[in-house]
Structure formats: C-alpha cells, structure tokens
C-alpha cells in the first residue's frame, strides 16, 4: 500500500532541499512512498513542530529542525 511522508515547510530553501533529498531516497530505493508537501502555516501547526523543515509519517513527527541526510531519510522510510 502506498505510504505517505509529509514534508512540513513554508517554502524556504531548506524545505525545498528536504523535498529533494526525500524524493531522491524514494526513487533510488524504489520505495512505496509518496510525498505530500504541507506548506500552509495553519496546517503545519496541527503538528507540534517548532522549526521547519519537518517530516511526518503516519501522523507522527519523525524528524524536525533541519535538512535530513540521505541516510537519515533512509532509516526513517525503510
């Protein structure tokens, strides 16, 4: 079943870079994940994050505060 990873961020360079990294990991490892970008501040604040970018899987915040490395994303998605 296709799983969703949400990327929280208002669109600053760090958030864009995070999307790139996550997308790359998904493609390179052929993972069954799709990316949903949460860019509106109202929606971002539904989660208790204090610094973007942040990653949310299955409703839980799994990473926040900076751009994750490829290996960190791999560990989270696999």
């Amino acid at each position: 079943m296709n799983k969703i990873v949400k990327i929280l961020g208002t669109g600053c360079p760090k958030c864009k870079k995070t999307t790139q990294v996550v997308d790359e990991v998904i493609r390179k490892n052929d993972l069954d994940f799709s990316i949903v970008k949460v860019e509106e501040i109202e929606d971002i604040m539904m989660y208790d994050v204090m610094s973007t970018p942040a990653l949310v899987i299955d409703g839980k915040v799994v990473f926040k505060g900076r751009i994750p490395t490829r290996s960190e994303v791999r560990d989270l998605l696999i």
Binding site: C12, P13, I41, D48, V49, M50, S51, T52, V61
Partner: protein
C-alpha cells in the same frame, strides 16, 4: 592571531600576482583575500562550537526548560541566552513562537528569545570577531542578550495576550504536546559529530556567497573611499544619526553575512561604531518579511508594540555604544 594570513595574502598579491603596492585596486584585492580566508576560518570554528551546544539544547529542550523551571525573574535572560545558541531561520519564527506559547512560556519570555535569536547567532559572532575583533564582539553579544532580556521584560508589562490573533489563541487552547525524549539523553558525542559537521557545511554554503560579496564590496570601498570620509556627516555628535539610521534599517532585511563586511569598512572610514551597530541590529533583528510572517500570530497592534519597543532599545544601544566604544 592572523599575522601569518596577512603575510600570506601579501605574498599572493605582490609576489604571485605581481600587483603594484599603493594602488587602490591592490589594496582592495589584498583586503579581499585576507578577509575572506580569515572569516571562513572563524566561521568554521564558531559555527561548529555553536552546533555542539545546540546539539545538546535543541529548541524542544529549551522550551521544556523554560516552562518547567522556576527562574525568579531570570527566565528572560535564560530565554535570551538560549536564543544565542539556537540557529534562527525566519521561516521558523511562527512555529517557534506558537511552540513556546503553547508550551506555557509567557509572552515576554518568548519575545526575549525571538529578539536575541536573529541578532546574536554563530554567523554574526564569527563575522564580528573577524571584522571588528574580540572586544567589540563581546560587547555586541552582551548587548544583544541585554536587548532581548530588557525588551522582553518591557513587553511583559503590556499584557499583550489579548493582541494575539484569534487563530493563534485557538491553537494554543487546543494544545497537545507529546512527551519528548531528547537526543541528548542517548547519543554519545562522537556519534553527533558527523551531523554537526554536515550542518556546519550547509550553513557555510548558504552564507559564504553573501559574505564574499560583502567583502568584495567592502574591499572596493576600502581601497577607494578616503579615510575619514564619513566623519563630516556622521560624527558621534550628530545626535540624529542613530535614530535615523535605525529607522531606515528596520524594514530592510539582509543576512548579517552580507552586511557586516560593508559595515566594517564604513566604520573604518569614519562612521561611529555605535551608529553602525544600530544599523546592523535594525537590519538583522527586525524586518518587513518577518513582520509579514508574524501577522499570522500577532495583530498589527502587537507587531507595532513589539517592533517599536525593540527599535527603541536598539536606538538606545546605539547611543551607548557611541559613548563607550
């Protein structure tokens, strides 16, 4: 500390490039090479050290600390100090603000954090040491912390909660916070280094283009503008300079990285240090983009009070700096 670098730059300019001494352009190039390398080294060191501190004190831990400890009036100072070690990205100012208030931290204390965070950060410190020396840096850091602390205390007297937007009030009342386990309780130091280092490189990559441009402009100004040029218009006795310069600076936004090298050259050409620092604080500490972001959580009145108080404190700092530096 950097004599070896000065000699190296001189060797490059005169022996390798074969430029003529005494010419404006030579001066500019010499300045550029020396300053760029010096600043990159300093930035590396400072950002790395801050990264280590920040690894043990992420924002979530700061919030927990500030909301759970009775600090007998020192919470403003603590918030300000935490603002120093926490990297600031203006896109995070809203989530951070909400996060703090949700966590039970009073508005004034939250403001102390929000004010000092962009003003005193690892990039600004690294640049300050490189461009102005340690003594001025220490004074700047202390004044940035005091500014945040004092502004926060002043703002707390205003009972500002009612000026928050309805949206934010609702979010706060629906607060749900997960119990947080912090990395620092489990990861050994050696494991953290790779990620701290990655972060250092990432910050450097983002900042260096601006720094180099700033130094290049500074270099040209250094070589071409005569000494004491600005003294005519901006001496310490010109009492209007500080407020005017600050008011001009507040709506602007620039990374400390781009502006500082230019400010340093202006100072070396005759602008009083206090006036220049007030300008820098105005540019870096407050800005139109930040005000736009904050509109989501603060009514215009609150933004006005917030900006007004900080602007006032910056102006006062500018005068004090002119007196003591």
């Amino acid at each position: 500390m950097f004599d070896w670098l000065d000699k190296f730059a001189g060797w490059l300019v005169f022996d390798v490039f074969g430029m003529q001494s005494g010419m404006h352009f030579t001066e500019a190039v010499h300045f550029f090479i020396y300053d760029s390398i010096k600043i990159v080294i300093l930035l590396l060191v400072v950002i790395f050290l801050m990264g280590i501190i920040n690894s043990y004190f992420p924002v979530e831990r700061v919030r927990k600390f500030l909301s759970q400890n009775k600090l007998y009036g020192f919470e403003y100072l603590m918030a300000s100090l935490f603002g120093v070690v926490t990297p600031f990205c203006s896109c995070s100012s809203v989530p951070l603000f909400i996060g703090f208030v949700r966590g039970g931290i009073p508005l004034g204390v939250t403001f102390s954090f929000l004010i000092t965070s962009p003003l005193v950060n690892e990039v600004a410190i690294g640049l300050f040491v490189g461009l102005f020396g340690i003594k001025t840096t220490v004074i700047y850091v202390i004044s940035g912390i005091l500014l945040g602390t004092v502004s926060g205390i002043i703002l707390s007297r205003f009972r500002l909660e009612k000026y928050l937007t309805p949206w934010v009030k609702k979010i706060i009342s629906e607060a749900r916070r997960e119990e947080e386990k912090f990395r620092s309780e489990s990861t050994p130091f050696s494991k953290r280094i790779p990620e701290i280092w990655t972060e250092v490189l990432s910050i450097l990559k983002g900042v260096i283009p601006y720094v180099l441009v700033g130094i290049a402009i500074g270099g040209l100004m250094h070589g071409y503008i005569p000494e004491g040029f600005f003294e005519k218009y901006m001496s310490k006795d010109n009492l209007l300079a500080v407020p005017l310069v600050t008011l001009f600076a507040v709506p602007m936004y620039s990374n400390a990285s781009g502006i500082l090298p230019v400010v340093q050259v202006l100072v070396s050409k005759g602008i009083p240090l206090g006036t220049a620092i007030a300008f820098m604080m105005g540019v870096v500490g407050l800005s139109l983009p930040e005000a736009m972001l904050l509109k989501k959580v603060m009514t215009l009145k609150l933004i006005g009070i917030f900006f007004g108080t900080v602007t006032f404190c910056i102006i006062v700092s500018g005068y004090i700096f002119n007196l003591i530096l």
